[in-house]
């Protein structure tokens, strides 16, 4: 005898099949509804997935737009001053008398540049040599001690650097160093700002350099060493040359960090609006200008606008520096991988 198996679903429309399947499942008690991917829950899950995706996309785009928004807001706020003076006359004159409506940014820009350049000159060789030592020469046991120290250096708040500068660097310059060169200095000088800032950017430079140097493939080193080069020659001709674009990008990144540093520099620089002529003159960098005058600016017309222009200048320079150097660093990361 032949048993003819008849599929219970045959001859039904799609919808009927679906309903039939659902009803079968209801009968079987071993499976709970949610275990079936085709249950009505799945539509909710997919919907949830989609909605969450949209929300997260919105959040991400909003954060990206925030950068643009900050720039735009600062620009809008600094527009009023452009109606009276041209940008060139603002950044090329050096008289700062808000009460009379004279806003010359030159001393502040010069102060910022002096301090930043000085910090870079002091920090760069130390950072390069330290990073080379840590990647090329040192044993793991040395790293175990130096890395936490670098972490601490990177984590210390800038106000602590400022206190340290006041306690140690300022008296040292005023009592020991300056008398050799000039008659009298308070110690609150461009040099003090440069030293403190230099130490502050050290950990950033070192960590960027270490990342770069350890990305160079080991084969390059082996090839150089097997040709009879010493380790230093390998470092000099292979590693430094190979990572030169990255080193430049790291320097630009450190410079933009130094440009914006406020409290520590403000504490040791002396804050006198003048064009510094030597390392032992006081200076007055842009961020310190903003920080010192924010409270009182609302009473004088155009004062707020002038300070916002200072913030806008800082913003533009830092964003351009950061974006360009990051793009270079991304490329390098991609190349070595």
């Amino acid at each position: 005898m032949m048993v003819v198996y008849k599929c219970p679903l045959r001859g039904m429309s799609q919808k009927q099949r679906f309903l039939q399947l659902c009803s079968i499942r209801k009968v079987s008690s071993t499976y709970s509804k949610s275990n079936y991917p085709m249950s009505s829950f799945s539509i909710n899950r997919i919907l949830k997935n989609k909605i969450a995706g949209w929300l997260m996309l919105t959040l991400t785009v909003a954060l990206i737009l925030l950068v643009v928004l900050i720039g735009f807001g600062l620009y809008l706020k600094s527009v009023p001053i452009f109606e009276e003076k041209s940008l060139w006359s603002l950044i090329s004159t050096s008289e700062w008398k808000p009460g009379k409506g004279n806003f010359g940014f030159l001393p502040f820009i010069a102060g910022t540049l002096w301090v930043t350049a000085l910090s870079l000159i002091l920090a760069l060789p130390i950072a390069l040599f330290t990073a080379l030592f840590l990647t090329e020469h040192s044993k793991p046991s040395v790293k175990k001690w130096v890395f936490p120290a670098l972490d601490i250096l990177a984590g210390l708040p800038s106000v602590v650097y400022g206190v340290w500068g006041i306690l140690l660097i300022v008296p040292w310059i005023s009592e020991k160093l300056a008398p050799n060169f000039i008659e009298y200095s308070t110690g609150y000088t461009t040099l003090a700002g440069g030293i403190v800032l230099g130490i502050m950017i050290l950990p950033l430079l070192i960590s960027l350099f270490i990342e770069l140097f350890s990305a160079v493939p080991k084969e390059f080193r082996d090839a150089s060493l097997s040709l009879g080069a010493t380790r230093w020659q390998t470092s000099k001709f292979i590693i430094l040359r190979k990572t030169l674009p990255g080193i430049l990008a790291a320097i630009i990144l450190a410079v933009s960090r130094a440009l914006g540093e406020t409290i520590a520099v403000l504490m040791v620089c002396g804050n006198i609006p003048q064009l510094p002529k030597s390392l032992f003159d006081s200076c007055y960098p842009l961020p310190a200008l903003i920080a010192n005058n924010y409270g009182e600016m609302l009473s004088i017309p155009l004062y707020e606008s002038a300070l916002m222009l200072a913030a806008f200048l800082l913003f533009i320079v830092v964003v351009l520096f950061n974006a360009s150097s990051r793009i270079v660093l991304y490329r390098i990361e991609k190349k070595f991988r």
Partner: protein
Amino acid sequence: MKIKFLEEKLAKLLMLLSTLLVVAFVVNILYTILQRGLPALNWDMVSKIPEGGYFNGGGGGVLNAIMGSLYIVLGSTIIGLLISIPVVFYLNVYLTKKSKLAYIARLAFDVMFGIPSIVYGAFAFTIMIYMGMRTSLGGGILVITLLIIPIFIRSMDEVAKQLPRDLLDATYALGATKLETIKVVLRQIAPGIATATLLSIGRAIGDAAGVMFTAGFTDSIPTSLSQPAATLPLSVFFQLSSPSADVQDRAYASALILTLIVLAISLAGRFITNHFSKNKIE
């Protein structure tokens, strides 16, 4: 002896010296702060708010600043986490490796990371004026949140990038939607979240320029979001600008408190990266 060996010796010496110099700086900074701060540090400093005439040598302590800093750090860390975890998840799970949006977003966060806190402060201050807000705890939290979001996102992203693709594929194969993989992803990047949080707290507690105009300064502990709040770095700064030597000593003690907090956070970070990775698949 060949000149290249001499050069090698010299270079090695220079490297050793500069490394020692860096370590010496760290030791020196910590020692100086400790040496000047410790004599002025007492229980009153951390348990009392400033009494009348504190900045001319009156009694009291910096509890207002400690609590203010704590509130700001707590608020901004929580908001920062709530904003940055979804973003990191989106960048790494929803978007592919080659996505243009992901590239632009990472670049934007790196740029945000570089923007000085004084610029954030200035921007937030103009917004606060526009909205008619006064310097307040809420404003301080706002600025610090802006400041630490890029730190959160970038340091979590570094960990999330290492996420094994197979793991995601395995969860998809089990029928999970992209959103549902978050349960797996979060366990994987848990150590990353922890270190990112500690990094952000360290940066948040030490920032002075951003909170200067937004959180303001006060002698009392804030009880609502609309009241001004003192912060530890600003407290150090203001005490240091006092002419009285007593008050300056207190500034050193406050700086010591701040340094100790930051050191504790840094140590905790090391501990967590070493011991928090139990769910992690390499």
